[in-house]
């Protein structure tokens, strides 16, 4: 899987690449808009991470270029701006997702994972994880041919774990993922514990292996 990281902040780009390469993604860098435009002409990427505020221009230009060239690369905008306008404009121009800085790398990885699955397996949107089958479109889960009924939050959690296999994920990260902006306004993140417990129980009741492990007391990890 090839990923193009269009980001002028070197440290940020490096961190993303480090995290992603452990998930067996191949990362390339483009610190300027010109570099990025050159690269998308030459290569095909599974996912492009696009920072809008680039030193030599607005990243949204790249989206227009992709559209002109009729390229199907998935694009996730990473922006320091939380501006609603940018978000809507970006998504209208063909971006698939929008992430506001600062974000957790696990959040980014989960989004990249979903995006690539959505883009590449358009007709059969099914992720198979050993005995677990996940239908991304219908949002249903089947374990050993038995349907498991998950709540929306539990399904979200499952996808987050699958996208971050073998990674340590802290409780606060999951809290942010599940409740978005309001997470850091909550005094405790115990609700995460309840959701994870339910997900674990439902999967194991259906006969799945105990993939979700608790690490360091309060962290989680999908071990596979």
């Amino acid at each position: 899987m090839k990923i193009l990281i269009i980001e002028d902040e070197l440290e940020l780009a490096k961190s993303i690449a480090t995290y992603l390469s452990e998930q067996h993604y191949l990362c390339e860098f483009a610190p300027t808009l010109q570099d990025a435009l050159d690269k998308i002409q030459l290569y095909q990427y599974d996912c492009i991470l696009l920072d809008i505020g680039l030193p030599d221009g607005n990243g949204l230009k790249l989206l227009e270029e992709l559209k002109i060239q009729r390229k199907q690369d998935g694009v996730i905008i990473i922006s320091a701006k939380n501006a609603l306008d940018d978000k809507i404009q970006g998504l209208q121009l063909g971006a698939d997702d929008y992430l506001t800085k600062p974000f957790h790398l696990s959040e980014l990885t989960a989004r990249i994972y979903s995006l690539i699955r959505r883009k590449q397996f358009n007709s059969s949107n099914i992720v198979v994880q050993n005995e677990i089958q996940i239908d991304l479109l219908a949002k249903t889960v089947i374990v050993n041919d038995l349907p498991v009924v998950l709540t929306k939050k539990e399904f979200d959690l499952l996808m987050f774990f699958i996208g971050n296999k073998n990674k340590v994920i802290s409780k606060s990260t999951l809290a942010e993922h599940l409740s978005g902006d309001i997470a850091d306004m909550l005094d405790n993140h115990d609700f995460v514990y309840a959701h994870v417990k339910n997900l674990k129980k439902k999967l194991q009741d259906a006969g799945s292996n105990p993939y979700i492990k608790t690490v360091y007391g309060t962290g989680y990890k999908w071990e596979n």
Binding site: E9, K101, P102, H104, S106, S172, I182, N188
Partner: protein, 428 residues
């Protein structure tokens, strides 16, 4: 407070009144003096003329006496009589007042008199002439009436003139004041003052323009600074967060180190939150949101409660909802959602396990009640970064944001403490 015009006119008119008032006796004495000296001259001429004529006639003693008697009887205002031996032979001038004899009703007349000793046919006679002179009361009355008349004309003229002139003269000033009243620093628009040929107003307008220009520039740069600073902070925060994410994956991590990272994450999340909230406040200040959207408030409140449901359950909070249907408002839906979320989270955060939270929505207000023991300081409450509780993870901006969003959409926020309940309400 009185308008400038009346402040100037009143002392001015008072001054005129005093001057004119003083002028009445002055006029009287002057006119009376002129009268008297004229009449004295007149009396003297009569005396001289009469003496001359009587002497010219060269009458015999008898016919002289008869003539004098006749004179005295037909000229009651004059009197000629022989000087008795021993009388002083001095002339005198004086004024007398006596009632009139032949006109009804009886009025007092004033007379200027001259009593002079004349020589007729070598014998001394005392000749007394009395000439009617205007009475002092009449003189004073006439002068006073005239003065009053002119005073009235002066007052009326002054009032009309000053009103007319000031209306025209102060027009640019009033224009300036109106423009200043309508000025809003937030809108960042410069004022163009009316051109004027009055030096004072021109100077005033110029100084105001300069002052406003500077203020607008300072305000803009301050707002831009907040927004830029918040933006610039996002990237280093992102780097920190991501580095911690990577550190978290270190296989040799101890439980203690993991906890340290988690604590750092929490602090980082908080700074991110503060930063985001500052950015949000700056954007509201900069009017970067459209506040003309139609908002279905009841649906929005229900939706926010729904999202928050698990957090109510987490703290075993009992939720009482009284939501009136079809509450339609105008504003920005994203901001309104933030406002509702902040209100709800605030209530959740400061409630104890098992408490009750009540949400009331009707056509005019949204109120969130949660239990508490003491009233909070209303003034500090809505101020930025004034945290009233010690052990809070909040950004200290939640209520400030509520206030700003409400203000931006033309709503008001209120806090009350009743029956051991904190009541935060937003009035549309």
């Amino acid at each position: 407070m009185k308008p400038l015009l009346s402040k100037i006119t009143t002392p001015f008119l008072l001054y005129v009144l005093i001057v004119l008032g003083v002028s009445v006796p002055v006029y009287y004495f002057v006119i009376d003096g002129i009268w008297k000296s004229e009449l004295d001259e007149h009396n003297e001429i009569i005396v001289k003329k009469t003496t001359y004529e009587l002497n010219r006639l060269q009458l015999s003693e008898d016919s002289l006496q008869a003539s004098i008697a006749l004179w005295n009887s037909i000229q009651p205002e004059t009197n000629i009589h022989k000087v008795k031996p021993g009388d002083l032979l001095q002339d005198s001038v004086y004024t007398i007042e006596k009632p009139q004899r032949f006109v009804e009703p009886k009025t007092i007349d004033r007379f200027r008199c001259l009593s002079s000793v004349i020589q007729i046919n070598g014998a001394p006679y005392r000749f007394t002439v009395q000439t009617n002179i205007e009475e002092s009361v009449e003189t004073i009355a006439a002068i006073a009436a005239t003065t009053l008349f002119f005073f009235a004309i002066l007052v009326i003229g002054l009032l009309i003139l000053s009103r007319k002139i000031s209306f025209r003269l102060w027009k640019p000033f009033r224009d300036t004041v109106e423009k200043l009243k309508a000025f809003n620093l937030n809108s960042q628009q410069q004022i163009n003052f009316q051109q004027t040929d009055t030096i004072e107003f021109h100077e005033l307008n110029q100084s105001l323009s300069k002052l406003l220009e500077k203020n607008v520039a300072v305000y803009r740069s301050q707002k831009e600074f907040t927004e830029n600073a918040s933006h610039e902070l996002q990237t280093p925060l992102a780097i920190l967060k991501n580095k911690l994410d990577i550190l978290l994956q270190d296989p040799d991590l101890s439980d203690e180190q993991y906890q340290l990272i988690e604590d750092m994450h929490k602090a980082l999340s908080r700074s991110t939150r503060i930063n985001r909230n500052l950015l949000l406040l700056a954007k509201i200040d900069n009017s970067q949101f459209d506040h003309s959207e139609r908002i279905n408030m009841d649906a929005l409140v229900s939706q926010c409660i729904e999202v928050m449901q698990e957090h109510f359950e987490q703290k075993q909070l009992l939720l009482q909802q009284e939501i009136q249907p079809a509450v339609l408002l105008t504003g920005n839906s994203s901001l309104t959602e933030i406002l509702i979320n902040n209100l709800l989270l605030n209530a959740i955060r400061y409630s104890n396990v098992g408490d009750t939270i009540a949400v009331h929505l009707n056509q005019t207000s949204l109120a969130v009640h949660n239990s508490g023991s003491t009233s909070l300081d209303k003034v500090l409450l809505f101020k930025r970064f004034s945290k009233l509780s010690k052990n809070s993870q909040g950004s200290g901006l939640g209520l400030a944001i509520i206030t700003e969003i409400a203000r931006y959409q033309g709503w008001t926020v209120d806090y009350q403490f009743e029956n051991n309940q904190h009541i935060f309400s937003v009035h549309f």
